[in-house]
Symmetry: C2
Subunit: 274 residues, 2 copies
Amino acid sequence: MNLDKLQNWLISTNNDVAYISDPISINYFTGYSMDPHERIFALIAFKDKPAFIFAPELNVEEAKNSAWDGDVYGYLDHENPWAKIADLVNQRVGKPNNIAIEKSHLSVDRLEQLRIAFPDSSFTNNVSPFVAEARLRKTPEEVEQLKAAGAEADFAFQIGFNALRNGVTERYVAGQIDYQLKLQKGVMHTSFETIVQAGTNAANPHLGPTMNKIEPNELVLFDLGTMHNGYASDSSRTVAYGEPTAKEKKFMKSTVRRNKQLLKQLNQALLLAN
Amino acid sequence: MNLDKLQNWLISTNNDVAYISDPISINYFTGYSMDPHERIFALIAFKDKPAFIFAPELNVEEAKNSAWDGDVYGYLDHENPWAKIADLVNQRVGKPNNIAIEKSHLSVDRLEQLRIAFPDSSFTNNVSPFVAEARLRKTPEEVEQLKAAGAEADFAFQIGFNALRNGVTERYVAGQIDYQLKLQKGVMHTSFETIVQAGTNAANPHLGPTMNKIEPNELVLFDLGTMHNGYASDSSRTVAYGEPTAKEKKFMKSTVRRNKQLLKQLNQALLLAN
Protein backbone atom coordinates (compact mmCIF):
# COMPACT_ATOMS: atom_id res chain seq x y z
CA MET A 1 0.00 0.00 0.00
CA ASN A 2 1.30 3.44 -0.92
CA LEU A 3 0.30 4.91 2.45
CA ASP A 4 2.70 2.50 4.19
CA LYS A 5 5.57 4.08 2.26
CA LEU A 6 4.57 7.51 3.58
CA GLN A 7 4.34 6.27 7.16
CA ASN A 8 7.78 4.61 6.86
CA TRP A 9 9.18 7.88 5.53
CA LEU A 10 7.70 9.78 8.51
CA ILE A 11 9.32 7.33 10.93
CA SER A 12 12.73 7.39 9.22
CA THR A 13 12.81 11.20 8.98
CA ASN A 14 11.38 11.79 12.47
CA ASN A 15 8.38 13.78 11.29
CA ASP A 16 5.28 13.49 13.49
CA VAL A 17 2.79 14.50 10.82
CA ALA A 18 2.60 14.88 7.02
CA TYR A 19 0.16 17.45 5.63
CA ILE A 20 -0.53 16.22 2.06
CA SER A 21 -2.40 18.85 0.04
CA ASP A 22 -1.94 17.96 -3.64
CA PRO A 23 -5.10 16.11 -4.81
CA ILE A 24 -2.90 13.93 -7.06
CA SER A 25 -0.80 12.87 -4.07
CA ILE A 26 -3.94 12.29 -1.97
CA ASN A 27 -5.30 10.04 -4.73
CA TYR A 28 -1.97 8.20 -4.85
CA PHE A 29 -1.98 7.50 -1.10
CA THR A 30 -5.73 6.93 -0.55
CA GLY A 31 -7.37 5.96 -3.86
CA TYR A 32 -9.80 8.87 -3.43
CA SER A 33 -9.79 11.46 -6.24
CA MET A 34 -11.40 14.89 -6.01
CA ASP A 35 -10.91 18.49 -7.15
CA PRO A 36 -11.63 20.76 -4.16
CA HIS A 37 -11.34 23.97 -6.22
CA GLU A 38 -10.73 26.73 -3.64
CA ARG A 39 -11.70 24.65 -0.60
CA ILE A 40 -9.40 22.80 1.82
CA PHE A 41 -8.63 19.15 1.10
CA ALA A 42 -5.85 17.25 2.85
CA LEU A 43 -4.57 13.87 3.85
CA ILE A 44 -3.10 14.01 7.35
CA ALA A 45 -0.72 11.12 8.01
CA PHE A 46 1.10 10.27 11.24
CA LYS A 47 4.24 8.44 12.30
CA ASP A 48 2.28 6.18 14.64
CA LYS A 49 -1.48 6.83 14.28
CA PRO A 50 -4.03 6.14 11.51
CA ALA A 51 -4.17 8.77 8.77
CA PHE A 52 -7.35 10.71 7.97
CA ILE A 53 -8.83 12.71 5.11
CA PHE A 54 -10.05 16.25 5.74
CA ALA A 55 -12.46 17.56 3.10
CA PRO A 56 -15.30 19.98 2.45
CA GLU A 57 -18.49 18.62 4.06
CA LEU A 58 -20.16 18.18 0.66
CA ASN A 59 -17.50 15.62 -0.32
CA VAL A 60 -17.43 13.62 2.93
CA GLU A 61 -20.00 11.00 1.86
CA GLU A 62 -18.25 10.47 -1.46
CA ALA A 63 -14.87 10.07 0.28
CA LYS A 64 -16.34 7.54 2.71
CA ASN A 65 -17.78 5.54 -0.20
CA SER A 66 -14.45 5.60 -2.09
CA ALA A 67 -11.52 3.14 -1.95
CA TRP A 68 -10.32 4.97 1.20
CA ASP A 69 -11.29 3.05 4.34
CA GLY A 70 -9.86 5.38 7.00
CA ASP A 71 -11.51 8.29 8.79
CA VAL A 72 -12.93 11.27 6.91
CA TYR A 73 -13.70 14.61 8.57
CA GLY A 74 -15.50 17.53 6.98
CA TYR A 75 -15.91 21.25 7.48
CA LEU A 76 -18.66 23.65 6.49
CA ASP A 77 -17.93 26.91 4.68
CA HIS A 78 -18.64 29.02 7.76
CA GLU A 79 -16.22 27.01 9.92
CA ASN A 80 -12.47 27.56 10.37
CA PRO A 81 -10.91 24.48 8.75
CA TRP A 82 -7.47 25.12 10.30
CA ALA A 83 -8.79 25.08 13.85
CA LYS A 84 -10.66 21.84 13.09
CA ILE A 85 -7.53 20.24 11.64
CA ALA A 86 -5.50 21.31 14.68
CA ASP A 87 -8.13 19.80 17.02
CA LEU A 88 -8.11 16.51 15.15
CA VAL A 89 -4.31 16.33 15.10
CA ASN A 90 -4.02 17.29 18.77
CA GLN A 91 -6.53 14.58 19.73
CA ARG A 92 -4.34 11.98 18.02
CA VAL A 93 -0.78 13.02 18.89
CA GLY A 94 -0.87 16.09 21.13
CA LYS A 95 1.30 18.97 19.90
CA PRO A 96 3.46 17.71 17.00
CA ASN A 97 7.06 18.92 16.74
CA ASN A 98 7.65 18.44 13.00
CA ILE A 99 4.93 18.68 10.35
CA ALA A 100 6.19 17.87 6.85
CA ILE A 101 4.43 19.73 4.03
CA GLU A 102 4.28 19.42 0.25
CA LYS A 103 6.29 22.52 -0.57
CA SER A 104 5.78 22.11 -4.32
CA HIS A 105 2.00 22.35 -3.84
CA LEU A 106 1.09 24.17 -0.61
CA SER A 107 0.48 27.90 -1.10
CA VAL A 108 2.18 30.49 1.07
CA ASP A 109 -1.08 31.69 2.65
CA ARG A 110 -2.12 28.15 3.63
CA LEU A 111 1.25 27.60 5.28
CA GLU A 112 0.65 30.83 7.21
CA GLN A 113 -2.74 29.46 8.36
CA LEU A 114 -1.10 26.20 9.45
CA ARG A 115 1.54 28.15 11.40
CA ILE A 116 -1.25 29.95 13.28
CA ALA A 117 -3.09 26.68 13.97
CA PHE A 118 0.12 24.91 15.10
CA PRO A 119 2.17 27.68 16.75
CA ASP A 120 4.58 25.20 18.41
CA SER A 121 5.33 23.10 15.31
CA SER A 122 8.08 23.34 12.70
CA PHE A 123 7.16 23.27 9.01
CA THR A 124 10.66 23.23 7.53
CA ASN A 125 10.52 19.64 6.26
CA ASN A 126 9.48 19.02 2.66
CA VAL A 127 7.66 15.80 1.75
CA SER A 128 7.42 16.67 -2.00
CA PRO A 129 10.73 15.00 -3.08
CA PHE A 130 9.72 11.77 -1.31
CA VAL A 131 6.29 11.76 -3.03
CA ALA A 132 7.90 12.40 -6.44
CA GLU A 133 10.41 9.60 -5.88
CA ALA A 134 7.73 7.17 -4.65
CA ARG A 135 5.58 7.86 -7.70
CA LEU A 136 8.52 7.09 -10.03
CA ARG A 137 8.46 3.39 -9.12
CA LYS A 138 5.28 1.76 -10.42
CA THR A 139 3.69 -1.37 -8.98
CA PRO A 140 2.34 -4.04 -11.39
CA GLU A 141 -1.18 -2.69 -10.68
CA GLU A 142 -0.07 0.82 -11.64
CA VAL A 143 1.57 -0.48 -14.84
CA GLU A 144 -1.83 -1.98 -15.76
CA GLN A 145 -3.51 1.41 -15.26
CA LEU A 146 -0.89 3.07 -17.48
CA LYS A 147 -1.42 0.43 -20.18
CA ALA A 148 -5.18 1.06 -20.05
CA ALA A 149 -4.55 4.81 -20.46
CA GLY A 150 -2.27 3.99 -23.41
CA ALA A 151 -4.97 1.84 -25.01
CA GLU A 152 -7.41 4.76 -24.73
CA ALA A 153 -4.88 6.99 -26.52
CA ASP A 154 -4.58 4.38 -29.31
CA PHE A 155 -8.37 4.40 -29.63
CA ALA A 156 -8.33 8.22 -29.77
CA PHE A 157 -5.79 8.22 -32.63
CA GLN A 158 -7.98 5.83 -34.61
CA ILE A 159 -11.02 8.08 -34.15
CA GLY A 160 -8.92 11.07 -35.22
CA PHE A 161 -7.47 9.36 -38.30
CA ASN A 162 -10.96 8.24 -39.36
CA ALA A 163 -12.32 11.79 -38.96
CA LEU A 164 -9.84 13.31 -41.47
CA ARG A 165 -11.69 14.63 -44.52
CA ASN A 166 -11.06 17.46 -46.99
CA GLY A 167 -12.11 20.73 -45.40
CA VAL A 168 -12.97 19.61 -41.85
CA THR A 169 -11.53 21.89 -39.19
CA GLU A 170 -8.91 20.89 -36.64
CA ARG A 171 -11.50 21.59 -33.95
CA TYR A 172 -13.99 19.23 -35.56
CA VAL A 173 -11.47 16.39 -35.45
CA ALA A 174 -10.44 17.23 -31.85
CA GLY A 175 -14.12 17.42 -30.88
CA GLN A 176 -14.80 14.00 -32.43
CA ILE A 177 -11.94 12.47 -30.46
CA ASP A 178 -13.10 13.84 -27.09
CA TYR A 179 -16.74 12.97 -27.79
CA GLN A 180 -16.10 9.36 -28.85
CA LEU A 181 -13.68 8.86 -25.94
CA LYS A 182 -16.48 9.87 -23.59
CA LEU A 183 -19.21 7.96 -25.40
CA GLN A 184 -17.47 4.71 -26.33
CA LYS A 185 -14.80 4.45 -23.62
CA GLY A 186 -16.30 6.44 -20.72
CA VAL A 187 -13.22 8.67 -20.63
CA MET A 188 -14.30 11.77 -18.68
CA HIS A 189 -10.93 13.57 -18.66
CA THR A 190 -8.14 13.92 -21.15
CA SER A 191 -4.70 14.44 -19.59
CA PHE A 192 -4.41 17.78 -21.46
CA GLU A 193 -6.32 19.55 -24.24
CA THR A 194 -6.47 17.32 -27.32
CA ILE A 195 -4.24 18.81 -30.04
CA VAL A 196 -4.97 18.37 -33.76
CA GLN A 197 -2.98 20.65 -36.07
CA ALA A 198 -2.63 20.45 -39.85
CA GLY A 199 -0.34 21.96 -42.50
CA THR A 200 1.87 24.78 -41.24
CA ASN A 201 0.05 24.64 -37.85
CA ALA A 202 1.56 21.17 -37.38
CA ALA A 203 4.92 22.89 -36.76
CA ASN A 204 3.56 24.80 -33.72
CA PRO A 205 2.79 21.97 -31.29
CA HIS A 206 1.31 24.03 -28.43
CA LEU A 207 -1.08 26.21 -30.45
CA GLY A 208 -4.18 24.06 -29.85
CA PRO A 209 -6.80 23.21 -32.48
CA THR A 210 -8.11 26.14 -34.55
CA MET A 211 -10.76 26.59 -37.24
CA ASN A 212 -7.98 25.88 -39.80
CA LYS A 213 -9.28 23.40 -42.41
CA ILE A 214 -7.53 20.18 -43.31
CA GLU A 215 -6.44 20.11 -46.97
CA PRO A 216 -5.37 17.16 -49.13
CA ASN A 217 -1.78 15.92 -48.83
CA GLU A 218 -1.06 17.75 -45.57
CA LEU A 219 0.73 16.47 -42.51
CA VAL A 220 -1.49 16.39 -39.42
CA LEU A 221 -0.10 16.45 -35.88
CA PHE A 222 -2.03 14.69 -33.09
CA ASP A 223 -0.99 15.18 -29.47
CA LEU A 224 -3.31 13.71 -26.87
CA GLY A 225 -3.76 11.60 -23.78
CA THR A 226 -6.36 10.38 -21.31
CA MET A 227 -6.68 10.05 -17.56
CA HIS A 228 -7.44 6.49 -16.44
CA ASN A 229 -8.12 6.23 -12.68
CA GLY A 230 -5.56 8.96 -12.06
CA TYR A 231 -2.96 7.55 -14.50
CA ALA A 232 -2.16 9.58 -17.63
CA SER A 233 -1.26 8.72 -21.19
CA ASP A 234 0.51 11.34 -23.34
CA SER A 235 1.11 10.37 -26.99
CA SER A 236 1.87 12.12 -30.25
CA ARG A 237 1.55 11.05 -33.91
CA THR A 238 2.19 12.95 -37.13
CA VAL A 239 0.36 11.41 -40.09
CA ALA A 240 0.07 12.29 -43.77
CA TYR A 241 -3.47 12.97 -44.93
CA GLY A 242 -3.16 11.81 -48.55
CA GLU A 243 0.32 11.58 -50.08
CA PRO A 244 3.37 13.10 -48.35
CA THR A 245 5.99 14.86 -50.48
CA ALA A 246 9.39 13.24 -51.16
CA LYS A 247 10.95 15.70 -48.72
CA GLU A 248 8.43 14.82 -45.99
CA LYS A 249 9.05 11.11 -46.57
CA LYS A 250 12.81 11.65 -46.28
CA PHE A 251 12.40 13.58 -42.98
CA MET A 252 10.09 10.90 -41.58
CA LYS A 253 12.55 8.11 -42.45
CA SER A 254 15.49 9.91 -40.85
CA THR A 255 13.40 10.69 -37.73
CA VAL A 256 12.37 7.05 -37.37
CA ARG A 257 16.01 5.93 -37.84
CA ARG A 258 17.26 8.41 -35.23
CA ASN A 259 14.51 7.40 -32.76
CA LYS A 260 15.47 3.74 -33.11
CA GLN A 261 19.14 4.60 -32.48
CA LEU A 262 18.21 6.57 -29.36
CA LEU A 263 16.01 3.77 -28.03
CA LYS A 264 18.86 1.31 -28.55
CA GLN A 265 21.30 3.57 -26.69
CA LEU A 266 18.76 4.04 -23.89
CA ASN A 267 18.24 0.29 -23.55
CA GLN A 268 22.01 -0.25 -23.37
CA ALA A 269 22.29 2.46 -20.70
CA LEU A 270 19.48 0.81 -18.70
CA LEU A 271 21.17 -2.59 -18.98
CA LEU A 272 24.41 -1.08 -17.66
CA ALA A 273 22.51 0.72 -14.86
CA ASN A 274 20.96 -2.59 -13.77
CA MET B 1 -6.13 49.17 -18.23
CA ASN B 2 -6.00 46.63 -15.40
CA LEU B 3 -2.21 46.85 -15.15
CA ASP B 4 -2.49 50.53 -14.17
CA LYS B 5 -4.47 49.46 -11.09
CA LEU B 6 -1.63 47.13 -10.06
CA GLN B 7 1.00 49.83 -10.54
CA ASN B 8 -1.06 52.29 -8.46
CA TRP B 9 -1.35 49.68 -5.74
CA LEU B 10 2.43 49.16 -5.74
CA ILE B 11 2.99 52.92 -5.36
CA SER B 12 0.40 53.35 -2.59
CA THR B 13 1.69 50.35 -0.61
CA ASN B 14 5.39 51.12 -1.20
CA ASN B 15 6.17 47.81 -2.86
CA ASP B 16 8.97 47.93 -5.45
CA VAL B 17 7.93 44.80 -7.31
CA ALA B 18 4.91 42.50 -7.65
CA TYR B 19 5.58 38.87 -8.56
CA ILE B 20 2.27 37.71 -10.10
CA SER B 21 2.21 33.93 -10.56
CA ASP B 22 -1.44 32.90 -10.99
CA PRO B 23 -2.12 32.45 -14.74
CA ILE B 24 -5.64 33.83 -14.19
CA SER B 25 -4.21 37.01 -12.65
CA ILE B 26 -1.61 37.28 -15.43
CA ASN B 27 -4.40 37.02 -18.00
CA TYR B 28 -6.35 39.70 -16.12
CA PHE B 29 -3.44 42.15 -16.13
CA THR B 30 -1.95 41.36 -19.57
CA GLY B 31 -4.62 39.76 -21.79
CA TYR B 32 -2.28 36.79 -22.32
CA SER B 33 -3.64 33.39 -21.25
CA MET B 34 -1.53 30.25 -20.86
CA ASP B 35 -1.22 27.13 -18.72
CA PRO B 36 2.47 26.65 -17.89
CA HIS B 37 1.90 23.25 -16.21
CA GLU B 38 4.99 22.72 -14.02
CA ARG B 39 7.09 25.47 -15.63
CA ILE B 40 7.64 29.03 -14.37
CA PHE B 41 5.30 31.75 -15.65
CA ALA B 42 5.12 35.20 -14.07
CA LEU B 43 4.19 38.80 -14.59
CA ILE B 44 6.74 41.07 -12.92
CA ALA B 45 5.36 44.56 -12.31
CA PHE B 46 7.17 47.59 -10.88
CA LYS B 47 6.29 50.75 -9.01
CA ASP B 48 8.04 52.91 -11.63
CA LYS B 49 9.25 50.73 -14.54
CA PRO B 50 7.47 48.83 -17.33
CA ALA B 51 6.23 45.37 -16.38
CA PHE B 52 7.39 42.23 -18.18
CA ILE B 53 6.23 38.65 -18.70
CA PHE B 54 8.59 35.78 -17.88
CA ALA B 55 7.66 32.47 -19.54
CA PRO B 56 9.02 29.16 -20.80
CA GLU B 57 10.93 29.76 -24.06
CA LEU B 58 8.40 27.68 -26.04
CA ASN B 59 5.65 30.19 -25.15
CA VAL B 60 7.60 33.41 -25.81
CA GLU B 61 6.51 33.82 -29.45
CA GLU B 62 2.86 33.23 -28.53
CA ALA B 63 3.07 35.77 -25.68
CA LYS B 64 4.63 38.36 -28.01
CA ASN B 65 1.81 37.82 -30.52
CA SER B 66 -0.88 38.13 -27.83
CA ALA B 67 -2.72 41.23 -26.58
CA TRP B 68 0.30 41.94 -24.32
CA ASP B 69 2.55 44.61 -25.82
CA GLY B 70 5.25 44.77 -23.14
CA ASP B 71 8.51 42.83 -22.90
CA VAL B 72 8.55 39.03 -22.76
CA TYR B 73 11.58 37.04 -21.57
CA GLY B 74 11.98 33.27 -21.77
CA TYR B 75 14.03 30.52 -20.18
CA LEU B 76 15.06 27.09 -21.38
CA ASP B 77 14.57 23.98 -19.28
CA HIS B 78 18.31 23.66 -18.50
CA GLU B 79 18.51 27.27 -17.26
CA ASN B 80 17.85 28.56 -13.72
CA PRO B 81 14.72 30.70 -14.13
CA TRP B 82 15.14 32.37 -10.71
CA ALA B 83 18.62 33.70 -11.53
CA LYS B 84 17.30 35.03 -14.85
CA ILE B 85 14.37 36.75 -13.12
CA ALA B 86 16.71 38.30 -10.55
CA ASP B 87 19.00 39.60 -13.33
CA LEU B 88 16.07 41.16 -15.19
CA VAL B 89 14.70 42.78 -12.03
CA ASN B 90 18.12 44.05 -10.93
CA GLN B 91 18.69 45.60 -14.37
CA ARG B 92 15.46 47.57 -13.99
CA VAL B 93 15.42 48.62 -10.33
CA GLY B 94 18.60 47.39 -8.63
CA LYS B 95 17.96 45.45 -5.42
CA PRO B 96 14.28 45.79 -4.50
CA ASN B 97 13.31 46.17 -0.82
CA ASN B 98 9.74 44.85 -0.95
CA ILE B 99 8.49 42.23 -3.40
CA ALA B 100 4.76 41.57 -3.08
CA ILE B 101 3.68 38.01 -3.90
CA GLU B 102 0.38 36.24 -4.56
CA LYS B 103 0.25 34.26 -1.33
CA SER B 104 -2.95 32.47 -2.34
CA HIS B 105 -1.19 31.02 -5.39
CA LEU B 106 2.60 30.92 -4.93
CA SER B 107 3.87 27.59 -3.60
CA VAL B 108 6.18 27.41 -0.60
CA ASP B 109 9.11 26.01 -2.63
CA ARG B 110 8.88 28.78 -5.23
CA LEU B 111 8.94 31.38 -2.48
CA GLU B 112 12.09 29.67 -1.16
CA GLN B 113 13.64 29.96 -4.64
CA LEU B 114 12.73 33.64 -4.80
CA ARG B 115 14.29 34.21 -1.36
CA ILE B 116 17.55 32.69 -2.64
CA ALA B 117 17.45 34.80 -5.82
CA PHE B 118 16.63 38.00 -3.86
CA PRO B 119 18.46 37.56 -0.53
CA ASP B 120 18.08 41.25 0.41
CA SER B 121 14.35 41.55 -0.31
CA SER B 122 11.29 41.14 1.91
CA PHE B 123 8.42 38.95 0.72
CA THR B 124 5.99 39.61 3.55
CA ASN B 125 3.51 41.64 1.47
CA ASN B 126 0.54 39.84 -0.08
CA VAL B 127 -0.92 41.12 -3.36
CA SER B 128 -3.69 38.44 -3.49
CA PRO B 129 -6.37 40.46 -1.62
CA PHE B 130 -5.82 43.44 -3.96
CA VAL B 131 -6.14 41.21 -7.05
CA ALA B 132 -9.32 39.60 -5.68
CA GLU B 133 -10.80 43.05 -4.91
CA ALA B 134 -9.83 44.46 -8.33
CA ARG B 135 -11.43 41.51 -10.12
CA LEU B 136 -14.71 42.07 -8.20
CA ARG B 137 -15.38 45.33 -10.05
CA LYS B 138 -16.07 44.63 -13.72
CA THR B 139 -15.55 47.12 -16.55
CA PRO B 140 -18.23 47.37 -19.28
CA GLU B 141 -15.93 45.29 -21.55
CA GLU B 142 -15.69 42.58 -18.90
CA VAL B 143 -19.48 42.58 -18.44
CA GLU B 144 -19.77 41.89 -22.19
CA GLN B 145 -17.40 38.90 -21.87
CA LEU B 146 -19.50 37.55 -18.97
CA LYS B 147 -22.68 37.97 -21.02
CA ALA B 148 -21.08 36.04 -23.89
CA ALA B 149 -20.12 33.23 -21.48
CA GLY B 150 -23.72 33.26 -20.20
CA ALA B 151 -25.08 32.99 -23.75
CA GLU B 152 -22.86 29.94 -24.32
CA ALA B 153 -24.31 28.35 -21.18
CA ASP B 154 -27.85 29.01 -22.47
CA PHE B 155 -26.89 27.31 -25.74
CA ALA B 156 -25.47 24.35 -23.76
CA PHE B 157 -28.74 23.93 -21.83
CA GLN B 158 -30.71 23.86 -25.09
CA ILE B 159 -28.41 21.16 -26.52
CA GLY B 160 -28.80 19.18 -23.29
CA PHE B 161 -32.60 19.49 -23.15
CA ASN B 162 -32.85 18.39 -26.81
CA ALA B 163 -30.63 15.35 -26.12
CA LEU B 164 -32.97 13.93 -23.44
CA ARG B 165 -34.47 10.62 -24.60
CA ASN B 166 -35.66 7.46 -22.83
CA GLY B 167 -32.65 5.35 -21.94
CA VAL B 168 -29.77 7.67 -22.94
CA THR B 169 -27.02 7.87 -20.32
CA GLU B 170 -26.09 10.98 -18.38
CA ARG B 171 -22.66 10.76 -20.01
CA TYR B 172 -24.18 10.74 -23.47
CA VAL B 173 -26.05 13.98 -22.75
CA ALA B 174 -22.97 15.59 -21.16
CA GLY B 175 -20.87 14.46 -24.13
CA GLN B 176 -23.35 16.00 -26.60
CA ILE B 177 -23.19 19.32 -24.75
CA ASP B 178 -19.38 19.52 -24.76
CA TYR B 179 -19.16 18.36 -28.37
CA GLN B 180 -21.72 20.82 -29.75
CA LEU B 181 -20.21 23.66 -27.70
CA LYS B 182 -16.87 22.97 -29.39
CA LEU B 183 -18.31 22.41 -32.85
CA GLN B 184 -20.99 25.10 -33.09
CA LYS B 185 -19.63 27.74 -30.70
CA GLY B 186 -15.87 27.11 -30.73
CA VAL B 187 -15.88 26.71 -26.94
CA MET B 188 -12.63 24.91 -26.14
CA HIS B 189 -12.98 24.91 -22.33
CA THR B 190 -15.88 24.50 -19.97
CA SER B 191 -15.45 26.28 -16.64
CA PHE B 192 -15.79 22.92 -14.84
CA GLU B 193 -16.84 19.39 -15.79
CA THR B 194 -20.33 19.43 -17.32
CA ILE B 195 -22.77 17.82 -14.89
CA VAL B 196 -25.90 15.95 -16.04
CA GLN B 197 -27.62 13.83 -13.38
CA ALA B 198 -31.03 12.21 -13.49
CA GLY B 199 -33.43 10.63 -10.99
CA THR B 200 -31.92 10.01 -7.56
CA ASN B 201 -28.50 11.11 -8.91
CA ALA B 202 -29.98 14.60 -9.34
CA ALA B 203 -29.87 14.94 -5.54
CA ASN B 204 -26.06 14.50 -5.47
CA PRO B 205 -24.90 17.59 -7.34
CA HIS B 206 -21.14 16.88 -7.33
CA LEU B 207 -21.21 13.25 -8.43
CA GLY B 208 -20.54 13.92 -12.13
CA PRO B 209 -22.29 12.17 -15.04
CA THR B 210 -22.45 8.37 -14.85
CA MET B 211 -23.72 5.58 -17.13
CA ASN B 212 -27.08 5.94 -15.31
CA LYS B 213 -29.90 5.98 -17.90
CA ILE B 214 -32.53 8.68 -18.11
CA GLU B 215 -36.05 7.31 -17.51
CA PRO B 216 -39.43 8.89 -18.28
CA ASN B 217 -40.83 11.43 -15.79
CA GLU B 218 -37.53 11.97 -13.99
CA LEU B 219 -36.00 15.23 -12.85
CA VAL B 220 -32.67 15.98 -14.55
CA LEU B 221 -30.06 18.30 -13.04
CA PHE B 222 -27.76 20.28 -15.35
CA ASP B 223 -24.81 22.17 -13.91
CA LEU B 224 -22.40 23.69 -16.42
CA GLY B 225 -20.48 26.68 -17.63
CA THR B 226 -18.01 27.83 -20.28
CA MET B 227 -14.83 29.87 -20.39
CA HIS B 228 -15.06 32.85 -22.74
CA ASN B 229 -11.73 34.71 -23.11
CA GLY B 230 -10.96 33.97 -19.48
CA TYR B 231 -14.46 34.83 -18.20
CA ALA B 232 -16.55 32.01 -16.76
CA SER B 233 -20.24 31.20 -16.73
CA ASP B 234 -21.60 28.81 -14.07
CA SER B 235 -25.30 27.92 -14.36
CA SER B 236 -27.63 25.25 -13.09
CA ARG B 237 -31.08 24.06 -14.20
CA THR B 238 -33.27 21.24 -12.96
CA VAL B 239 -35.83 20.17 -15.55
CA ALA B 240 -38.54 17.51 -15.65
CA TYR B 241 -38.15 14.97 -18.46
CA GLY B 242 -41.81 14.15 -19.03
CA GLU B 243 -44.32 14.93 -16.29
CA PRO B 244 -43.19 15.89 -12.76
CA THR B 245 -45.14 14.51 -9.78
CA ALA B 246 -47.46 16.74 -7.76
CA LYS B 247 -44.89 16.75 -4.96
CA GLU B 248 -42.11 17.82 -7.35
CA LYS B 249 -44.30 20.59 -8.75
CA LYS B 250 -45.02 21.81 -5.21
CA PHE B 251 -41.31 21.88 -4.32
CA MET B 252 -40.45 23.70 -7.53
CA LYS B 253 -43.11 26.36 -6.90
CA SER B 254 -41.97 26.98 -3.33
CA THR B 255 -38.31 27.15 -4.47
CA VAL B 256 -39.14 29.72 -7.15
CA ARG B 257 -41.16 31.75 -4.63
CA ARG B 258 -38.32 31.69 -2.07
CA ASN B 259 -35.74 32.65 -4.73
CA LYS B 260 -37.85 35.63 -5.77
CA GLN B 261 -38.14 36.74 -2.14
CA LEU B 262 -34.38 36.47 -1.65
CA LEU B 263 -33.66 38.42 -4.85
CA LYS B 264 -36.02 41.17 -3.67
CA GLN B 265 -34.29 41.35 -0.27
CA LEU B 266 -30.89 41.40 -1.98
CA ASN B 267 -31.95 44.25 -4.27
CA GLN B 268 -33.22 46.25 -1.28
CA ALA B 269 -29.92 45.63 0.55
CA LEU B 270 -27.98 46.81 -2.50
CA LEU B 271 -30.12 49.94 -2.77
CA LEU B 272 -29.41 50.71 0.89
CA ALA B 273 -25.69 49.99 0.41
CA ASN B 274 -25.57 52.46 -2.50
